[in-house]
């Protein structure tokens, strides 16, 4: 029987099948961070058990780290305590640890691929739902809870029923000013925030084939926002080119052997999916969200749908718009914005900073905007400097901060104040996600940049045309 990419990778990691139960599933790579791992180590200690394969786990600090003055002691005692717990646990069990200030430190889903830890055909988990990012390399990658972190530490396995399979095809040519983030927000708006629950998604079609690795990471990252367990894209020359020569990538004969396997990682003709959807690239505009889940997205030039036009409960919809202080039928363009956030595991890579710079170059940050520009890792910072993007940003009135998850989930001091409106390149617009009472509009780095220089929600195409060709 023809197999899908997902079947090939999943089936090769099943240690044992339990009748009327989950599969015992082997994990090749495990990432941990300071927020969801400490309790797992407490569990290990109370059971008196150890870490089975410390070399398969990688620790980095990112969720609650400050993005300013990282060389100083962390001021918040609770955050400092978590960072210390991560460092101590890593040291005690012999786990690699990239703490604050380490040159490999950064957001877990950015430093994993950067260091060649993320490989095609591997299984990757982390106590973070955006672990789906790593699916961009043809890996099966998904978020787990802390009990499962403890399972992976102690046995390198978790117990999971095999998800159903969905394929999402996007074909055609993306329009001017339309980025991978827009493709993902468009798909989620079509699927809704729960449409892919129970499924693992494969993204296929020429839009993804033509996308850079950074773009593929952005798309796979957002798979969880339509409920999917994860998303993946078949590895190709671009994938192999990206990973070759990185710190943890196989070398020499090991590389050749790995390549033989990696080249078998594609969905065979005639393989079956439990669900399949096909979208047309030409239908996708620069996107923006208007509500309190990522499925509530529209083209930036569109107006907010009326309650009777949307699926789902009217009361829930009205509660959401009430929180956002928006009305049905409102236009998004021209809404006054207070904060702009560029960063996160969704859009904190070099390509995102290039896109942002393509608009702000030669312009000035609007006075009413507070902007937080947070690169995803020190390597991203280095590349920004190498390409001179920092000079463009500074000239336009922007300041680069230090790497971390930052305002995406606002566990550190980067909190959007109550009632303020932010255009954010991150992944969630839930109530209070960016700080208690904060209001979030999710969008691409281009929309964020256009808004940052205009002070109001702006269609980036109106600014790009001035500099394009």
């Amino acid at each position: 029987m023809s197999k899908t990419l997902f079947d090939k990778v999943w089936d090769s990691h099943v240690v044992r099948k339990i009748e009327d139960g989950p599969d015992v599933f082997f994990i090749d790579r495990h990432f941990i961070h300071e927020v969801t791992s400490p309790v797992a180590f407490v569990g290990l200690k109370s059971r008196g058990i150890g870490v089975m394969y410390p070399e398969r786990t990688f620790a980095t600090a990112d969720h609650n780290t400050p993005t300013w003055n990282q060389h100083l002691p962390v001021a918040d005692p609770l955050s400092a305590n978590q960072l210390e717990a991560l460092a101590n646990n890593a040291a005690e069990y012999g786990i690699s640890h990239w703490g604050l200030g380490h040159r490999n430190n950064g957001i877990v889903h950015i430093v994993g691929p950067e260091n060649g830890i993320t490989l095609p055909g591997s299984t990757i988990v982390c106590g973070d739902s955006h672990t789906s990012t790593h699916g961009a390399f043809g890996a099966i990658a998904f978020g787990i809870g802390t009990s499962e972190v403890e399972m992976v530490l102690s046995t390198q396995c978790i117990m999971q029923p095999k998800p159903k399979k969905m394929r999402i095809n996007v074909n055609g040519k993306l329009g001017f000013g339309v980025t991978p983030k827009d493709v993902a927000l468009y798909i989620i708006s079509q699927q809704t925030t729960s449409g892919a629950t129970g499924y693992f998604v494969e993204y296929a079609g020429d839009v993804f084939e033509n996308m850079t690795m950074e773009g593929r990471m952005t798309v796979c990252n957002l798979s969880i926002e339509m409920g999917a367990r994860g998303g993946m894209i078949a590895p190709d020359e671009k994938t192999f080119e990206y990973i070759k020569g990185r710190k943890h990538t196989p070398k020499g004969a090991d590389w050749d052997k790995a390549m033989e396997y990696w080249e078998t990682l594609y969905t065979e003709e005639g393989a079956e999916f439990d669900a399949e959807f096909t979208y047309n690239a030409a239908d996708i505009e620069p996107m923006i969200t208007y509500g309190t889940n990522p499925g509530m997205g529209i083209g930036v030039t569109k107006s907010i749908p009326l309650a009777e036009q949307v699926e789902g409960g009217v009361a829930t919809y009205k509660k959401s718009l009430g929180y956002m202080k928006f009305n049905e039928g409102d236009n998004m363009i021209g809404k006054e914005v207070d904060y702009v956030f560029l960063g996160s595991c969704t859009n904190g890579r070099i390509e995102d900073f290039r896109a942002f710079c393509s608009i702000v170059e030669g312009r000035q940050k609007a006075d009413n905007i507070t902007a937080w520009l947070v690169p995803g890792s020190h390597k991203v910072v280095d590349q920004i400097k190498e390409e001179g993007l920092d000079k463009i940003l500074n000239a336009a009135g922007f300041v680069l901060r230090e790497p971390g998850c930052s305002a995406c989930l606002a566990m550190n001091d980067d909190k959007v104040p109550a009632g303020k409106l932010a255009v954010s390149t991150s992944n969630r617009n839930f109530e209070g996600r960016q700080g208690p009472g904060s209001r979030t509009l999710l969008a691409s780095p281009l929309v964020a940049a256009a808004t940052a220089v205009s002070g109001v929600v702006t269609d980036p195409r109106t600014l790009l045309e001035e500099v394009a060709v």
Binding site: V15, T36, P38, I144, G145, M151, M159, P161, G437
Partner: protein, 206 residues
């Protein structure tokens, strides 16, 4: 299989009959269940205090009296009936811990997000998925009488509205059901197959 020796091991779940908190809102995400700023503990305790923090309290920290979890007429319930797509978003197990720590053992909804459902099962909270019609029936019954009792029978996999006897069956795989009935968790199971895992690990190319 050894009984769990973990500090956080949960009590067995067999049959639970209780009143319920109603929360008829769709797409309740884990950032609402437990906001990120309360994830800074390094031990698993005290999460019940911040369960639905920003929906239970205003910005000055005063309880919002008409929010169901603050409403005295539902106090002591061990079941929460939530709207469709309950628990979406973040993988934080803290959300499931806060459910348990608040005193709940069962969440009923017409649809659950995957990771939240998994996390609940791993720590002894039973997620019960019912049809949208039955969920509505439960909401209506609770609204008509806050003392309405719901009986969740795990051995028979049924959920019953006690006042009328109306009942629906629910799915759970046999393995997880056994764990819940016995208070076991997956780590107990995995610990007992480490040799098999080690042999498998040998075959992995990277």
């Amino acid at each position: 299989m050894a009984k769990s020796i973990k500090n956080m091991a949960y009590d067995k779940f067999e049959v639970l009959t209780s009143t319920a908190y109603p929360l008829p809102i769709e797409n309740v995400d884990t950032d609402q269940i437990i906001p990120a700023r309360f994830l800074k503990a390094t031990e698993r305790k005290g999460f019940g205090d911040n369960f639905f923090r920003d929906w239970r309290y205003d910005s000055e920290g005063n309880p919002i009296p008409d929010f169901p979890l603050n409403d005295a007429k539902y106090e002591g319930s061990k079941i929460l009936v939530g709207g469709k797509n309950f628990g979406s978003g973040s993988s934080r197990e803290h959300a499931a811990w806060s459910v348990y720590d608040f005193g709940l053992r069962c969440v009923i909804s017409s649809f659950f997000a995957d990771i939240f459902r998994n996390n609940c099962l791993n720590i002894g909270v039973l997620p019960v998925q019912v049809s949208p019609e039955f969920a509505q029936k439960l909401f209506d019954a609770i609204e008509a009488d806050s003392k309405t009792e719901i009986k969740v029978d795990l051995p028979n996999q049924t959920v019953t509205l006690v006042s009328t006897g109306e009942s629906e069956s629910f799915d759970i795989n046999g393995y997880k059901k056994g764990n819940m009935l016995n208070g076991f968790d997956d780590i107990d199971y995995l610990q007992n197959m480490k040799e098999e895992i080690a042999a498998f690990g040998e075959t992995r190319p990277f």
